[in-house]
Structures are given as structure tokens and as C-alpha cells.
């Protein structure tokens, strides 16, 4: 075993032990076997004029380099209301970050940078939140208590987010089940991160303070696809108010995943619902892998308390050569430490996620907790291939760490000798600025000890490839305490009733109605996401149009156009209502809508008459159109040798479609062309 150990084989083998299957091969059973459970925390920005606790405008963004001033702060943990320090709090304090806020005078005031107490809460925002709370069928609180939720990452300059519960215990209907809602809260947005390198983190404050609602579900979602369905439903529901921000970053999800024997792990900041299935799938198997690691380690160490890692400073020129990917100048300033991990052979290269192994868990934490940029370690079980035997390109590029695994010039035999390591031990070498080394060693030890217990509580950041990386320790309720700057706000019964009166139609109702109308199912997502059901309904009712046609006009045709064309000025969907109104008043046939729509979309300010000119529409009577059929048929015979009847009809229709559009129903014309064939004797 000693000489034959291959990290690559170990990676592949442990992937098998973990039972990993590709997402597309996984069935409902795959997840019930794992004990997959998922819940959501869905954030949605509200469309208000001003921010939640100050009077700065909401929703204006600047380039991160467009700022007027910078302010430097540090975050220090404080006691929670119940008198305890929070786990995350202490970890984040360890990281000792210099936090710089970039301020643009247009979007930030002294409140935003915590130099002024809060102004009274924005009532416009509160009313929208109550509306959503009612749609979620939650119990609305009698009094809003503004609470401080501690965030020591600096994403909010106060060090806490002002947040308040609006309603608890609700539900939403999915296709096959009901999903319970834990709560709906209203809160202030955080800053946008500009960069985070070493001990320096930069934020911009334009987004800070925008009103946000957060919908939290119970972990009732039992497959990744169900998780996506619920996320869609909640997105539709908040959009149905017409009072929420849309666009990139206006809605973000934190997805909580656990499996049997695992722990709740939060995947933060998922911007696209479409990514949820793969992310949750991979997280479930990461937890499974960590449980397998736990099993292996507990077999090797029946008494985990006795496990002890050792470390020694090493001189890079004696034990190892400085890996070529490290800047030589920096390398000379770094401190280098070798670590021996007893009994960890086969663990460092143990599969955790596609393209990642347990060693990544260590390296990720070195970056986040000890602030040592990657690459920050090399280890004795380098593997760098996917199942096809190639090094995945994303690994080579994204993670210098994996390049490190090539182990340039690293003689781990020398390291083993240094520790008098046993055959079953694994080793690693880490490096970084002197001040960070103690934390780095602690971090490695802490994570390795966790390996004996299973899955650590943490929040993870999603990566485009469907995997995740460590972000921070999962915070608990200990980070909550009352906001002494804000009095409670009563929510009176009359006020709730007033909002209840203006509630939009329920999303599940809209879905039912659309099905009844036979609107194609593949348009639902588009229509609901953009809150277009009311528009479809209005057109159908006001103009007595076929819902199927209108649904498809918008859900298929307009959707396609949106993907192809950029409008010259902002396009609003109610233009379509006026467009339909226009063609009805003009007694045009509805087929022309499809011709007009691209122009209407591209030039939102063009009047509809000009749109008609643009598409070269000319009024023509049905008789005139029909009269030309015989001539065209003759012409077809002249130019074509084909005797094929349907080819002839196609050709004639092709000739007649442009003049007929708007003047005659095309289906009718088609019937006439087909029927008239050989019907000169009519």
C-alpha cells in the first residue's frame, strides 16, 4: 500500500464509496436514500423610492471606482441579547480585516456609514412587506420589532443588519405538496463587495440600505428540483405585487441543505434559480462524502480525542523548493510550516465534490479564516484529474491550489522524515505572512478535528460549475439583539385589512386559470416571473381575445424577441395592451401582431401607425387578396416544375402572407388557397 497509493485512484474510488451520481442520473430515490432536505431563504429587493432607514435613493448603482470618499472600519464581536458571543462572530474577528467603504454622495449619507442613528422606517417598504406576508399566508405580527443581526464581515458598516419579522408560519402550494413558510422579514440590503484580498476588503455602499424582504421556508423540499420549483413560486409571488425590484441581483437565494447524519449547510447568494438543482445535489453528496470520511477516521481512531496533529516550521530551501507558481519575493517573506496529520492518508484526496477533495476544505478555510490567498498549501496527496483522466481546465485556472498539487519540487519524503510519520499519515505544507500563521495552523487543526464529527455548520459560496467553497461558519440565533435606536412599530388590524383589499391574485390561481385557458405550459415561468398574468387577463377580458393566442404571443413570441433585440429606450409591457387595442380599433386581423411586435419592442416610443409603415403594411380587402390566388397559382406552374400540391400552397401562401397580414386571418387564407386549388370552376 505504501508505495502503490495513488491519489487519483483514491479520488475515483472514494467518489464511488460516496455513491456520487450525476444530477441527470439521480432519481427521487437517490435523494430519499440520502435523506435530502432543503429549505430556502429568498431575498427580494423592494421597489421603493428611498432606502429603508434613511432618505437616500434606492436602486441607483455606481461603478465601484466612481466614489467620493473612503472610510476605514473594523468589526469587533459584541455580546448578544442572551449574553453570549456568536461562533461566527469570534471567527470573523480572528480574520482581522481592514474594511474600506466607498461612498458616493448621491447614494450614501451619514446613516449609511453608521455616523448617524436610523431615521424612521420607510412605510412604503413596510406595506409591501405586509402585502407579501399576506400572500404567503403568514400570521402578521402585532408589533414590528427592529432587531440587529450581527454581520462581522463588514458588509454592513454598523456591523449588524437592521431586520424585523413581519409574519410567521405561512405556506405556499407546489404541484404536489404544500411548503411551509417559517417567516417573512423586512431588512436593509448590505454593501456590494468590490474585492477581498488578504486582510483588505473593499465594499461599495450604493446598494446598502435598499429595502429587502426575506422569505424563509421550512426544510420541506425533498429533491433538488422541488427546491427549484419552490424558489420559482416564491419569486412569482413576490413579483405578483408589482412592487419589487427586478434585474441582476434584485433577488438572491440562500439555500439550506442537509442529509441524514449531516448538518444544515447554507449555500449563499445563488443568483439564478436554474443553478439550485445542481448546487443542492452536489452539496448533498459533499455531506455524504464527509460522513464517509468521518466513518473512516473513527475506525482508525476509536478515541478521536487522542488524535493530535503536529507542525514544524520548515525552511523552503531545505525541505522543499519554493514552488514555481509563487512569487519569489513574496516567498522570502512568508513563513513555511509543515503539518503532519496522523491517519489522514487517503483523506486529503477523498472526493468531496466533482473536481474537489477534502484538501480543498482546508485550503478554502486558510483563505477565509487566516486571510492567506490561494495557493496557500500543498499536500502529500496531489491529484489533478477528472474521471476521464484529464486535469479539468477550471481547476487549473481557478484554483492555484490545484496547480500546487503538481508538487513542484516538494519532497514529502523529507517532510515525513522530519515528523517520523507513520505509513497512514498525510502531510501538508502551508505558508503565509508571519502574523497569519498561528491562525492558519489553528484553522487546519480545527477543520481536521471536525472531520471526525462529520459535517461542520457553515455557509458556502456557490461557484458557476455547481460546486461550492467555504464562506464562513454558520451563524446562530446568538447574533440577534434588539435595536435600541428604533422603537417598536404597531401594525394595526385596520391597516392589514386595507392591504388585504388590494392583494394580487394568488400565483397558484393564476396557474390554474392559465391551464384552463390552454395557454402553453412552457410560457408560465416567463409570464409569472415578469408578473404578466394580469396583462394577459386584461387583454383577454377587455378585447375578448383568445387567451391561448395572447399567452403565446407574449410567452413565446415576445420572449424570443427580448432575447434578440435591445430596445432603444425602456420597454414597458403595457405597450402590448395598447397595441392590441390599436389593431382592434383599426379592425386589423390579429396575425399582424407578431409582425408588429419586434418593431414595437425595439422602438417603444414609435406610434403604432408608424410601426405599420415600418412593416410596410397596406390595407387591402379580402376580395383583392383572394382575387390574386388564381394568378399566383398560374405563376407557380410557370416557374416550377413541381406538380406537388402542398408545395404550391406553400409558395402561394408565401406570396400572400405579407399583403394579407392584418387584413385577413392567415388560417382562413390558407383554407381558401387550399380549397381554391383546382377550384377555378367555383
Amino acid at each position: 500500500m505504501k508505495n502503490n497509493f495513488s491519489p487519483e485512484h483514491n479520488y475515483i474510488n472514494t467518489k464511488k464509496i460516496t455513491g456520487y451520481v450525476e444530477k441527470k442520473e439521480a432519481t427521487r430515490e437517490t435523494y430519499s436514500d440520502l435523506g435530502f432536505k432543503c429549505g430556502h431563504e429568498i431575498h427580494q429587493q423592494l421597489k421603493t423610492k428611498k432606502k429603508l432607514f434613511c432618505r437616500c435613493p434606492a436602486g441607483i448603482y455606481h461603478d465601484p471606482d466612481d466614489f467620493n470618499a473612503e472610510i476605514l472600519r473594523h468589526m469587533r464581536p459584541t455580546l448578544s441579547e442572551l449574553g453570549e458571543y456568536d461562533g461566527t462572530a469570534l471567527m470573523e474577528f480572528k480574520t482581522k480585516k481592514n474594511i474600506t467603504y466607498r461612498i458616493n454622495n448621491q447614494t450614501a449619507c451619514t446613516y449609511d456609514i453608521d455616523d448617524t442613528p436610523p431615521f424612521p422606517l420607510n412605510r412604503e417598504a413596510l406595506d409591501i412587506a405586509i402585502e407579501v406576508a399576506l400572500l404567503l399566508k403568514t400570521n402578521v405580527v402585532g408589533e414590528l420589532h427592529i432587531t440587529r443581526k450581527q454581520y462581522l464581515d463588514g458588509s454592513i458598516p454598523t456591523g449588524f443588519q437592521r431586520t424585523a419579522i413581519v409574519g410567521i408560519e405561512g405556506e405556499i402550494p407546489l404541484k404536489n405538496k404544500k411548503v411551509r413558510i417559517i417567516q417573512l422579514s423586512i431588512e436593509e440590503e448590505s454593501c456590494r463587495e468590490v474585492s477581498d484580498i488578504g486582510h483588505e476588503r473593499i465594499y461599495t455602499t450604493d446598494r446598502l440600505g435598499i429595502p429587502l424582504i426575506e422569505t424563509v421556508t421550512y426544510p420541506d423540499l425533498l429533491t433538488p428540483d422541488e427546491a427549484a420549483e419552490a424558489a420559482h413560486y416564491i419569486r412569482f409571488l413576490t413579483r405578483s405585487t408589482g412592487k419589487v425590484q427586478t434585474g441582476i441581483g434584485a433577488a438572491r437565494e440562500d439555500v439550506n441543505v442537509s442529509i441524514d447524519g449531516g448538518t444544515r449547510v447554507e449555500i449563499k447568494g445563488v443568483a439564478h434559480i436554474a443553478r439550485i438543482p445542481l448546487l443542492t445535489h452536489n452539496e448533498a453528496f459533499r455531506q455524504k462524502a464527509l460522513l464517509e470520511i468521518k466513518k473512516t477516521l473513527n475506525e482508525r481512531f476509536p478515541n478521536p480525542a487522542k488524535w493530535k496533529m503536529t507542525h514544524k516550521p520548515v525552511s523552503p530551501n531545505h525541505i522543499i523548493e519554493i514552488p514555481t507558481f509563487i512569487d519569489k519575493k513574496k516567498a522570502n517573506r512568508y513563513h513555511w510550516v509543515a503539518v503532519n496529520l496522523p491517519g489522514f492518508k487517503g483523506i486529503l484526496s477523498f472526493f468531496t465534490q466533482p473536481g474537489k477533495s477534502f484538501a480543498n476544505e482546508l485550503s478554502d478555510r486558510l483563505k477565509v479564516i487566516a486571510c492567506i490567498e490561494k495557493p496557500n498549501m500543498i499536500h502529500s496527496e496531489p491529484w489533478y484529474m477528472n474521471k476521464k483522466g484529464n486535469t479539468p481546465a477550471n481547476l487549473r485556472q481557478e484554483e492555484g491550489f490545484n496547480q500546487a498539487l503538481n508538487g513542484h519540487g516538494v519532497d514529502f519524503a523529507a517532510v515525513r522524515k522530519l515528523f517520523k510519520s507513520g505509513d497512514n499519515d498525510a502531510q501538508l505544507i502551508l505558508w503565509g505572512p508571519e502574523d497569519d500563521i498561528a491562525t492558519a495552523i489553528e484553522t487546519i487543526e480545527e477543520r481536521c478535528k471536525w472531520a471526525f464529527e462529520g459535517v461542520p455548520n457553515e455557509t458556502r459560496k456557490s461557484i458557476a460549475d455547481g460546486t461550492t467553497i467555504f464562506e464562513r461558519v454558520l451563524p446562530g440565533p446568538n447574533r440577534m439583539y434588539p435595536d435600541t435606536d428604533s422603537p417598536p412599530i404597531p401594525i394595526e388590524e385596520d391597516h392589514i385589512q386595507g392591504i388585504r383589499k388590494i392583494l394580487p391574485r394568488e400565483v397558484s390561481d393564476c396557474m390554474k386559470q392559465m391551464k384552463k385557458w390552454q395557454i402553453p405550459g412552457d410560457t408560465f415561468c416567463y409570464l409569472l416571473k415578469r408578473n404578466l398574468f394580469p396583462l394577459v387577463e386584461k387583454i383577454v377580458e377587455d378585447f375578448n381575445q383568445s387567451p391561448k393566442f395572447i399567452g403565446s404571443l407574449i410567452g413565446h413570441h415576445l420572449k424570443y424577441i427580448e432575447g434578440q433585440i435591445t430596445p432603444s429606450s425602456p420597454f414597458t409591457y403595457d405597450r402590448i395592451y395598447h397595441l392590441v387595442d390599436f389593431i382592434i380599433k383599426k379592425k386589423l386581423k390579429r396575425d399582424i401582431l407578431k409582425q408588429m411586435l419586434p418593431v414595437v419592442y425595439q422602438y417603444p416610443n414609435m406610434d403604432f401607425e408608424s410601426v405599420l409603415t415600418t412593416i410596410e403594411y397596406k390595407p387591402k380587402s379580402e376580395e383583392d387578396i383572394l382575387d390574386s390566388i388564381p394568378v399566383l397559382k398560374e405563376k407557380f406552374s410557370d416557374i416550377s416544375n413541381s406538380e406537388n400540391e402542398s408545395a404550391m400552397i406553400r409558395w402561394v401562401m408565401g406570396q400572400l402572407r405579407p399583403p394579407a397580414l392584418g387584413n385577413m386571418r392567415l388560417s382562413e387564407l390558407h383554407t381558401k388557397v387550399a380549397a381554391g386549388n383546382g377550384g377555378n370552376d367555383e
Binding site: L72, Y151, P490
Partner: protein
């Protein structure tokens, strides 16, 4: 009993009693808006009697309207015990000994449910738990002299504090830090500048503009800066140590007689007026900005003058001020008046007879400027000369609040107005300067290109 229903009154109290549900109990509450479950929290006494406060499992608090409650049931009990992690403060003979006096300001703290207020942590052990960096700076001992809000600091506290400082210095302390609420810190700083003279060590006043119950608080860094200043500074004067910029960068050491709180909430609210500060303080370094200060000495000698006459007032002049304001003060037996006049030190003519009456009644009247920057110049206009003839004495460039404190202190020592005048016009601790340096007045105006450039380049 009252503890069982902490903070609740009226209908809220009734309903808690009716369903036998105590504060800190875990309860299920059925309401017309649905069911709620959590820990019943105490209620702030200033909030209404129509709601209960509940802490949910998620850590959030909510309020429940009393009117909506149908049924309540207590099923558990979980009282919160606040504890600031207390560790023994490590001491060593190499480090300077620093005394921290508490007056009621907060440094480390916890929350009080009843009022929603912040309760300070104060013992060295508590402070070490909250700000471990302190152990690298000094051997810290603490003494809580009183616990009053900043606005309640007055002559009694000034004299107590002065005497306590005197005792510590005689015992050989290496530096003194005074924790103080920020609102009236500059009043107390002025009082100590007069009451404690020729100190051999720094006497550093400090507070926080953001309470220490928040992660972004300036309290910890202020404490670090002030203990650093008390331990290492060569400046043996009464100082105020607060943020220079609003960024966590450095503090400024201001003279107790020239400092003023200039913003209601900024971290960098304290500014030296009409002069420049004495020094900049970083975690590990003190950079003097000038050299004309009293240097640290090895002896244990100090002069304590714990005097104060309380019948002194300050009148902020405005156009149309009625003379009966001055008359009323005189009739009530006040012995001294500081006027904050307009411009170079003016009040309107109708006030003159009242000033004349004040002079005849033996009241000491001094003129300062409400512009804060600049000197009183009563010779420039005839009106000023008129006023001087009515006994109004120009107080040079003493800040109004400082002149108020000084007059109280002077009248506390003597009733002889000539002696009072001599005390008032003799500069102490820089309260009156010979002139105003060109950089003593810098209120930069935002929007101007070069100012914007500056703001962008340096942390605000």
C-alpha cells in the same frame, strides 16, 4: 412580583397575570392572527401597554397585540444571564500603571431589557474580555466614581473627580483615563483643566460616539487610544482623546480647554477650536503636532483646586432678546453670566440697561462669541465700548462653555470681582491664546473641487 412581569403595565400586565405567564417563560400564544411561540421578554418601560414582546426561536423579537390574544400557555422558562466574559487582567512590572475612572460612559457593555439601554462593563477583567489588546498597553485598574448620564455631570462630580485624580497622582500612577459620556465631555474637560493643574501625568478623557453594543463601535479603539496616550504620551495635561477621522485610523489629543463636540453623532465629533490639537494617537504610536505642552514628570506633585460656584449661567444672545432675561437671572441671585454674543461679541442696545443693573448688583459678566472661532473684539465698534463701560468684560477667545466653567471655578474661589477678572483673563491650559494660528480655523466646504480631491484621497 414586579420582576416576574418586568416592564409590563396596564392591560399587558393583566393578561400576563390572567394566563399566569411570566417574563422569560417559553409560551404558546393563540391569537386572532394565528399562533405564536417563543420566550416572553421584558418590555421597555417607555413602550405602550398594548403589546407583549416575544423572542422567537430564530432570535428575532416580535410584538403581539394584547387585543388579539385568545389563549396563552407557559411551558418552559429560560432567563437570560448577561455575562461579559471576564478574564483576569494580566499585569507585569514593565507596563505602566493606568487608572481608569468611570463616570457613566460606556466602554464595553450589555443591554438592559427594561429600558433598552446599554449597561457598561467596567471591571478590568470585563474590559480585558472585551478588549484584550489593553493587556499589551498597560496594567489597568478601574474605579467607578459615579454612574450618571453625561448630561447630569455637574460641579459635584467635577470636584469629586478632581480629588480622586489628585489621590491617584500622589500614589504614583503613570496616567489617568476617564470614561465619560460624550455630550458634556468638553465641559468636564474644561473643569478638570482648572481644578487639576501641574499634573505630572496625562489625564485623558474618552468616550464613544457609537455604543459598544455594536460591532462597528468606536469604543474599543477609543479605549486603546486613550490608554496608549495615558501610558506613553509625554503630555501631562487634561486631554480629550477621540477619533480624528470617522475611519478607524487615529485619535486626536485635544486640550481640555479648547475642545468642543461639533457633531451630534459623528465618530469624529470632537474638534480643537481656534487652534490645532496636541497630538495624533495610533495603536502603537503618538505623534505630537506641537511642542508647547506640559511635559510628563517623575514626581507625584499636583495642584488640586476643587472649587465651583453653581450660581453661574450662560446666555445665548439672539436678536430681539428681551432685557428681562438678564434681569431675571440677576434677580434670582446669579453671580456670574457668560454671554455668547454675535459676531465680535455683541448684544442689542435694549439689553444695556439690564447689563448696567447686573453690574450694580455685583454680577460678573463676560462676553464670548457664538461664532466659536475668533476673538471677542469689543473695541471695534462703539457699541462694544459702550458695553464695556457697563461692566461687560471680553473673554478673549475662550470658548463659551469653557468661559462658563472657568467663571464658576473663579467665583468658587473668591467673590472679589477684580480677583475673578484676574483669574478669568489669565490663560490656563491654553484656554486663551495669544493669537489664532492660520490653521486654527478649518471648516472645509464640501463640493469645492480641491476639497473633494482631499476627501477622496484621505480617509474621512
Amino acid at each position: 412580583m414586579s420582576d416576574m412581569f418586568k416592564g409590563y403595565k396596564g392591560k399587558a400586565l393583566e393578561i400576563l397575570k390572567k394566563f399566569k405567564v411570566r417574563v422569560w417563560s417559553e409560551a404558546k400564544i393563540e391569537t386572532t392572527r394565528g399562533e405564536f411561540e417563543g420566550i416572553i421578554l421584558p418590555r421597555s418601560e417607555n413602550d405602550d401597554a398594548k403589546h407583549l414582546v416575544l423572542k422567537l426561536d430564530t432570535g428575532y423579537n416580535i410584538g403581539i397585540a394584547i387585543d388579539s390574544i385568545i389563549e396563552m400557555k407557559e411551558y418552559g422558562y429560560k432567563e437570560a444571564k448577561y455575562k461579559i466574559p471576564e478574564k483576569e487582567f494580566p499585569t507585569s512590572p514593565e507596563k505602566p500603571n493606568i487608572k481608569l475612572f468611570g463616570t457613566g460612559g460606556t466602554i464595553a457593555s450589555r443591554l438592559d431589557y427594561r429600558t433598552g439601554a446599554v449597561i457598561p462593563a467596567f471591571s478590568p477583567g470585563e474590559l480585558y474580555g472585551a478588549v484584550p489588546e489593553l493587556a499589551d498597553i498597560c496594567n489597568l485598574s478601574t474605579e467607578k466614581l459615579f454612574a450618571v448620564f453625561s448630561e447630569n455631570m455637574g460641579p459635584e462630580q467635577y470636584t469629586t473627580l478632581a480629588k480622586a485624580i489628585g489621590k491617584e497622582i500622589e500614589k504614583g500612577i503613570d496616567g489617568i483615563v476617564i470614561g465619560h459620556g460624550t455630550d458634556t465631555m468638553h465641559h468636564t474637560a474644561a473643569a478638570l483643566s482648572y481644578m487639576v493643574q501641574n499634573s505630572p501625568v496625562p489625564i485623558v478623557m474618552v468616550g464613544s460616539q457609537r455604543s459598544s453594543d455594536r460591532p462597528s463601535s468606536d469604543a474599543a479603539l477609543n479605549l486603546i487610544h486613550s490608554t496608549t496616550a495615558a501610558s506613553q504620551a509625554d503630555i501631562a495635561e487634561v486631554l480629550v482623546c477621540m477619533f480624528g477621522p470617522t475611519s478607524d485610523e487615529y485619535a486626536l489629543l485635544h486640550r481640555g480647554t479648547r475642545v468642543r463636540k461639533m457633531h451630534s453623532s459623528y465618530r469624529s465629533a470632537f474638534r480643537t477650536i481656534g487652534d490645532i490639537p496636541l497630538a495624533m494617537v495610533k495603536r502603537d504610536k503618538i505623534t505630537p503636532l506641537r511642542e508647547d505642552y506640559n511635559h510628563r514628570r517623575k514626581d507625584k506633585k499636583v495642584d488640586i483646586y476643587p472649587y465651583f460656584e453653581e450660581r453661574v449661567t450662560m446666555v445665548y444672545y439672539y436678536p430681539n432678546m428681551n432685557p428681562d432675561i438678564i434681569d431675571a437671572v440677576v434677580e434670582k441671585g446669579y453671580k456670574g453670566i457668560i454671554i455668547a454674543g454675535t459676531g465680535l461679541g455683541h448684544v442689542n442696545k435694549p439689553l444695556y440697561p439690564a447689563l448696567e443693573r447686573a453690574r450694580r448688583a455685583g454680577v460678573a459678566v463676560y462676553m464670548t462669541v457664538q461664532t466659536l472661532w475668533g476673538f471677542v473684539h469689543m473695541n471695534v465698534y462703539e457699541t462694544g465700548r459702550d458695553m464695556m463701560s457697563k461692566g461687560v468684560i471680553p473673554a478673549e477667545n475662550m470658548l463659551p462653555e469653557v468661559a462658563y466653567i472657568k467663571l464658576g471655578w473663579a467665583l468658587g474661589q473668591t467673590g472679589d470681582l477684580d480677583k475673578v477678572k484676574e483669574i478669568m483673563l489669565t490663560p490656563i491650559g491654553g484656554d486663551i491664546t495669544e493669537g489664532e494660528p492660520y490653521n486654527g480655523y478649518l471648516v472645509y466646504q464640501g463640493g469645492i473641487p480641491e476639497v473633494e480631491d482631499f476627501i477622496k484621497k484621505f480617509h474621512k
